[in-house]
Amino acid sequence: MKQITVLTRKDPAELIRVATLLGDAGVNIESMDAENIEETGLMVLSVDRYDEAVRALASHGLRAVTQDALVIRIADKPGALAVVSRKLSDAGVDVRSMHILRRDASESLVTLVVTDQDKARAILADVVVRN
């Protein structure tokens, strides 16, 4: 079972929209966690047909992050990403990329691709928004 993180607007209707479009694509949602971070809706889905789900979400203009990347939430302040990156590299985890997904008033959602995801998840447990 694989997980996908989906970014939407902060709107309860988006939950129904995602469920409907995945259902139309023949994808079963095994589990879904949803939360709002400022103006952004965040859903973590477990699905049975992973590739189909990613394609369906992307074709409807939704930002879907596959489990190849960690999603973290950090304060929107200068150098915040570098602090995370340094913490990881000091622990021997190589950061391949850090991309800002969305910035709201005081927080940013960021994707992180690293060489050792399990280790990174443990180090960043307080800011990782995915299980």
Partner: protein
């Protein structure tokens, strides 16, 4: 035995003994339906051209003098400065074109190298390739307003990267860059600077970036500049912001088809020669001194760029740039007169940014929106009348 078997085949026997046996079949004529499809496509192109205001493509050009070269399988394989065994090439013209762009970019005398690319993305890929070869452990920094193709390049070239926040005006957030570099000062920074972002036309301030690198006493760094559209505007305006080699840039990518206009996408990659030479030495082991990205390369686009540069001349390009800048100012005024919050990065920008128009406008006009904003780019064949019609449509859709 095999020969006898082959000759026993009636078709092969006929082929072998026919005095005029064609080696290949003659091409079939297109059917009426095929012609109709092409006619329909042509009509669609012609109808879309004046409405395509959101994309940076000058669509006013005449390359008919070069059509005769389309009968040849020309190919610019290899380094344009090293020659090629394949004689149907336009390397000589390519060298002249690259030299012209190098002059406009004020590349250091005797210390530049470049070639004609398939477009801005290849130029960016080339610059980042040079950077990676020079600094294998480097970290690439780029703003969140950077074109999405850069993220693809970074992944393709397996380069470590950190996205830097963007300011509302589209420039890099220099505080974020400074703090990020401070924490990673032991890693050579590779700065990907936007000299005109895709959506807002914003220009990262190279003077500030250089200042940050100096303040932090970072000994080794590399700056690549993506000057896709602005690279042919800024050489022709007064008081241009820092954007090129004298301002500390190590490599540049400029599009050929954007401001100058060309039916085939193309661009220019320029880099400091001493850096390219270091790469050339490092790739000797693969048995090729050619450091261009592609193998076979387009031989027609260098010819077209050469033709365009020859027929426009510096004065012609300057006039074209002034016309575009004037139209951009006109567009901002016109849209604001309709209470539409339009703006542009600075007085040199031909990218006019405004709130994302309602759907009816988006359906009629060819515009690329991003989230809550959209833009128009004042390149030919746009006129004041085009802007008037767009502004009127936009205003009507809001009311």
């Amino acid at each position: 035995m095999q020969w006898k078997l082959l000759m026993a085949s009636p078709a092969l026997t006929a082929f072998a003994f026919s005095p005029r046996a064609p080696i290949f079949r003659q091409p079939m004529p297109l059917t009426a339906a095929d012609h109709a499809r092409l006619d329909a496509l042509h009509a669609q192109f012609a109808a879309s051209r004046p409405l395509s205001i959101g994309y940076p493509c000058n669509q006013e050009f005449d390359y008919s003098a070069l059509f005769r070269f389309l009968e040849f399988a020309a190919n610019n394989v290899g380094d344009p400065f090293s020659g090629s065994n394949y004689r149907l090439n336009t390397h000589e013209f390519e060298r002249e074109v690259v030299a012209e762009f190098a002059r406009h970019a004020r590349a250091p005398e005797g210390d530049w190298w470049g070639y004609v690319t398939n477009g801005g993305t290849e130029g960016n890929m080339y610059g980042l390739y040079v950077a990676r070869e020079l600094h294998p452990d480097g970290m690439v920094y780029f703003s969140e307003d950077t074109h999405y193709s850069v993220a693809k390049i970074l992944r393709l070239q397996h380069m470590r990267n950190i996205m830097i926040k963007g300011q509302p005006n589209g420039q890099l957030d220099y505080d974020d860059l400074r703090e990020t570099l401070r924490i990673h000062r032991d890693v050579p920074p590779i700065i990907f600077a936007n000299i005109g972002t895709t959506m807002k036309g914003s220009i990262d301030d190279l003077k500030i970036i250089r200042g940050i690198l100096d303040d932090l006493a970072i000994p080794e760094s590399y700056i690549h500049a993506d000057a896709a559209l602005s690279g042919m505007i800024l050489p022709f305006v007064e008081s241009a912001p820092p954007w090129s080699f004298p301002d500390g840039v190590d490599s540049l990518s400029i599009s050929g088809h954007k401001l100058l206009g060309c039916p085939l996408p193309c661009g220019i990659a320029l880099a400091r020669k001493r850096n390219v030479d270091r790469i050339a030495r490092s790739v000797e082991y693969v048995g090729a001194l050619d450091t261009t990205i592609s193998g076979s390369r387009n031989a027609i686009t260098p010819l077209m760029l050469w033709h365009r540069l020859r027929t426009l001349g510096d004065d012609g390009i300057r006039e074209l740039v002034q016309r575009c800048i004037h139209l951009a100012g006109y567009a901002v005024e016109k849209l604001r007169a309709h209470d539409i919050d339009a703006w542009r990065h600075d007085a040199h920008s031909i990218t006019v940014v405004f709130p994302r128009p309602p759907e009816p406008v988006m359906r009629k006009w060819v515009i690329a929106p991003k989230k809550k904003i959209a833009h128009l780019i004042t390149l030919p064949p746009m006129t004041e009348e085009t802007i008037d019609r767009f502004a009127a449509d936009f205003a009507a859709s809001m009311s």
